[in-house]
């Protein structure tokens, strides 16, 4: 913490190092104690980039308890271009009201980006989640703009290899596997410093038991 003298001369709107600033639109509880304790839950109204290091380590499941909660709302949960069938028995078991889920498939990335944007702008979605591996920076900027000031959970999944020069996404979440447990790193988040190694071990077990 800076010295009291320095504190007093710095203008109040300057964000200071470790000081944490809460997301103005709030958070949706993630359903995982570790995540909720360290980052309050998933932020609403700010775009998240989720980068799983491999497939099948619970990368989609980290959002499921939040989606279950959001599906109680009358709004849609829009899934854009999921790589496989989002399995209704799984979602239903996890407490997601599948009647709120819409799935769209697009022929090209422009259409996929357009879908996400429409969903975010429409005021009728509580969550918009996309799988767009070749997403462009321009598209991310558009999505972030569409999401700004809306109480919507917005996230998209990318591949670990893709790097962007100027990534405009305010949140970047890495999901990786180490020693038989799933870890979450957050190298970038708005209003906070990077965090790494949030353990959500026993992810599947936890989610099963929590909602079964």
């Amino acid at each position: 913490m800076a010295s009291p003298l320095l504190q007093s001369i710095l203008p109040t709107h300057i964000w200071k190092g470790k000081e944490h600033k809460l997301n103005p639109l709030g958070y949706v509880p993630s359903g995982f104690t570790n995540i909720d304790e360290s980052i309050h839950g998933w932020p609403l109204g700010t775009l998240m980039e989720i980068v799983p290091h491999q497939i099948g380590i619970g990368e989609f499941s980290i959002l499921i308890p939040a989606l279950a909660r959001l599906s109680q709302d009358s709004r849609w949960i829009l899934l854009v271009c999921p790589p496989h069938i989002p399995y209704a028995p799984f979602l239903s078991r996890m407490g997601v009201d599948t009647s709120k889920v819409i799935i769209t498939h697009a022929q090209n990335i422009n259409d996929a980006g357009w879908c996400m944007e429409q969903g975010l702008r429409s005021n009728s979605c509580s969550a918009v989640i996309g799988w767009i591996p070749q997403i462009t920076e321009k598209m991310m900027r558009r999505l972030q703009l569409a999401l700004e000031a809306k109480k919507v959970l917005g996230a998209f999944f990318t591949k670990p290899m893709t790097t962007y020069k100027n990534n405009p996404t305010p949140w970047r979440i890495i999901v990786r596997q180490a020693d038989n447990e799933t870890l979450i790193d957050i190298p970038k988040r708005r209003g906070g410093s990077p965090i790494s190694g949030i353990s959500i071990s026993n992810l599947l077990h936890q989610t099963c038991c929590g909602f079964a």
Partner: protein, 474 residues
Amino acid sequence: MLWLCLSFPNLPIDIFSIGEETKEPVVIIESTNTIIASNNTSQHFGIKNGMTLSAAYVLSNFIQIKHRNKNQEIKKLEEVAISLFKYSSQISIRLPSSVLVEIGASIKLFRSTQHLTNQIAKTITDLGLHAHTALSPTPLGAIWLSRYRTNTTAFTIKDLSQYIDPLPTSIIESGNTSGMQLHDVGIKTIGQLARIPRSAVTQRWGTYALDQLDRAFGKKPDPQRPFSLPEHFNSEISLNLPASSVEEILFGIHRIIQSMTTYLQVKQRGVIQFELSIVNEEKLQHDFKFKLSVPSRNTKNLTHLVQERLNRESIPSRIESVQLRSIQEIAITPSNHSLLPHEEQCELNRGHLIDQLQARLGENSVYGITVCADHRPEKSWRETIPGNHQQHIKLNHRPSWLLRIPKALTSASDIPHLRGPLTIIDGPERIETGWWDDQDIKRDYFIALTQDHSQVWIYKDTTSNHWFLHGIFA
């Protein structure tokens, strides 16, 4: 009672002037090759109504000729009538080119006659028409005045005579007596006719002329046939210039959708199915059917949908006209205002989002999912229309992704391989039978870990002893 009559002397040409104003002279002809209407440019060249086509050619070589389309004129008058329902409930169409509106009962609501007529005038301009108007306590008086002395206002019968008296007798149409006959014997104005003893007029020309006169002055009742709304909306717009892109016809589409939404508003309905047809110069018709998930009468949303759909599909070049028909309409009851204003809006937006996505991506690319009561993994879910309610079924532990087609795995000494040998951590769960729909299965399902710790859902087909990947715990 106070009747407002709107006459459209330029109706034959007005129905063709949607979109850009042409620089070329355009004339409308009837079967006899006489010009019955022309645009401003033609008038600038000196072309007048009643001229023959050959006379017009002397004045300009470049005239565009269009044949009169009476059906469309009637449609246009109906459209005017529909859009005037918000001002009055008593409206009737008087062919060839007038619409009568009883506004006496609406003055109080609109505060003043002036205010009301201004609003009506604006509605007409928005439809792209030019009207001559007149106000009179009798319907026939209003019709006559609007045709000859535009912008006249007569509030009482007493006022009426000073305006009607100078009108030519030729205004009395058809019947046994033509106005021209009266004119020929020197009875040139209505006033003169009114001063001749009635018996003398009846003896020479029958009762028709006097009957008309009595109606005009309110001495005889003159009931009007009210215009009633057609069962479905059906309208057409002709473009001024042939168009070849969606952008060029968008203006026309917006206008025609606006007419439809006005119609729906009057009927207190929302459209749920409609059809748009685009006709090109060769009279080839392309139909586009639209099916909505919630009834709508929102011009902006509907235009948006049509635009998205047309952008996706190929449209013909040199489009001449656009038609719009409503196929199915559903009553929309204006909802009670919710305490939370946001909720209500949300319900409408919900449906609109689906329609919008489907318009661009195709109907099959946007769907919902639901759980089904079936033990076979590929049958325990199915695609549904978005928003279908879910069944409550007791469920086992299942992966988040299901592969649409199970992927065959290689195996070595009965150990399945996926990026190296798999380690089974849970199972087996036997799922079998399905003889009733010929999709019999016999499988042992396992949860397994890959070498790099991904969790997958695999099964062994117990009849063939082959291993398959069926799901991923993502």
